[in-house]
Symmetry: C2
Subunit: 301 residues, 2 copies
């Protein structure tokens, strides 16, 4: 075991960060009723319900996206006083901040209207724990996908309160819908992750497979829009539900309402994710183009 390996003492599982993503919300409620489900011998497991008011209202958020409220700049700005800004500060009271985390690992539960299956969004790039977790999950279920945003420096996601964190992003699930199949798949995935974290505390790290595939976000693409901000085109029918599939230069990207095709002008193959995600439309995102990386783990940490 590497001497730098820090034991995980407190693991936090967060759901309902977005009130209309019901998989995580109802999983947290289940874990709150039966804490033994997430208990493991070597660490304390906390569960936290992110945005109870938005959940009650059946919406993603009340005033502002809670999962964009965790930059240090915003947390330290006393003039920000929306419900979500206040809730973010409350959550930091429990989990700490990225400067002074009170937990050793965070799992934040989300769902998406995009066809991303069981996706694990990875945090810090070079952390052997995270990479070995991905290898372990790959060995158990090769269908699990791994996604990484390109910039996670001082980001504003909830999970950024802890240097070691992941999000689980499951779909396609309409917001406001409780899909039993994905509920059960996500629950199983969480238990597998907790088992891995427990074994990390007790055994040397050893990759469970030699290569993992990570889709890394390289470019956000917005819809073509009219001057008033309304969409002037849809996702091209050929691209619907094709998350993580290769998109070649010249392939169809959008189709205007009048039937004209708009193609991908890039020069290399990319792998779109979050295709047509409902809640990203207001953020100016039609999809996230990713690069597919095969990462070798044939190293001894």
């Amino acid at each position: 075991m590497s001497s730098s390996k820090l034991k995980l003492n407190r693991v936090a599982i967060v759901g309902g960060t977005h009130g209309s993503e019901l998989t995580g919300a109802y999983l947290i409620k289940k874990f709150e009723r039966s804490p033994s489900l997430v208990k493991r011998p070597t660490f304390e497991a906390l569960t936290l319900f992110g945005n109870p008011r938005a959940f009650k209202a059946g919406t993603r958020y009340i005033e502002r996206d809670l999962n964009r409220c965790f930059s240090l700049k915003d947390l330290n700005n006393p003039s920000l006083a929306t419900y979500e800004d206040i809730r973010a500060k409350e959550i930091c009271g429990v989990l700490g901040t990225k400067e002074n985390s009170k937990v050793d690992f965070v799992i934040d539960l989300h769902s998406t209207t995009s066809n991303m299956g069981l996706t694990v969004i990875l945090g810090e790039k070079e952390d052997p724990l995270i990479l070995n977790l991905a290898a372990y999950l790959t060995s158990i279920n090769p269908l699990v996908k791994f996604f990484r945003w390109s910039d996670t420096q001082d980001n504003s996601f909830l999970r950024s309160v802890c240097p070691r964190s992941i999000a689980i992003e499951v779909g396609a699930i309409p917001h406001g819908v409780l899909n039993p199949w994905y509920f059960e798949q996500t629950e199983k995935l969480i238990y597998t992750i907790l088992d891995f974290l427990n074994s990390y505390n007790t055994r040397p790290l050893k990759p469970s497979c030699s290569t993992i595939t990570i889709f890394e976000g390289i470019k956000l693409v917005d819809y073509p829009r009219h001057q008033n901000g309304e969409l002037s085109a849809m996702i091209d029918p050929s691209l619907v539900s094709k998350d993580y599939q290769p998109l070649e230069p010249g392939a169809s990207l959008f189709k205007t309402f009048e039937g004209r095709t708009i193609t991908y002008k890039g020069t290399s193959t990319v792998y779109p994710a979050f295709i047509g995600e409902a809640s990203y439309q207001e953020k100016g995102i039609a999809m996230c183009l990713t690069a597919k990386h095969e990462i070798s783990l044939a190293v001894d940490y």
Copy 2:
């Protein structure tokens, strides 16, 4: 031609009645840009955008479901002053009310998170025009489904402002998502309906097929819930996406979060629709059980 046959002079197409149902919203915008698409020789075609503020906000409604604001009681109640109550009165200024309709036919465009395909929700039961329209659509596309709510007396739907009306309900589409495939299918369906209405104005009614199938809502079923109103069970995995499929007595209906199955206690086969529709959760509806009727049109109207 029957002497009682009244010519259709004004046909209204309404979309965006729910702000997050983007198929209808963007179809109306397309028709507003190109009115010739919905123009037919024998009638005037109006287009109307139901709830522009909710569309802008990306939500179903701002304060109250606009598609429940059209009962005469509510329309005549000056103390109701939500955005949607006011908007309903504005819409009645254009379309009239159920007592004094200013249009001869209404098509209201909706989408659903349930797997209901292309569904046409029929209005008044015994109207030969409506039944022959269903027969015509069946002859063109046998996959189109016909649904009827059991009680349409003095109902509060937008389309109730006109005695002759239908809604188009398309899914599964997550709210907030613009699905290009369904956009094109819905557009095509609207043109087929307009063509039929135009031909109705010029030729005697003659059924295009001898039998139509109508699914008639007979019972609304809510989720099992905890005392605080939160769900205590999900749609059973075996029932997900099985809209319009037969549900036999004793079949699984719900599954609790702890894994217990709750079965259908009825004594006859039913055909659930709107299974797990996201926006019906707040209305206390997990699904609508329907009876399947085969209706013979081998009569000369």
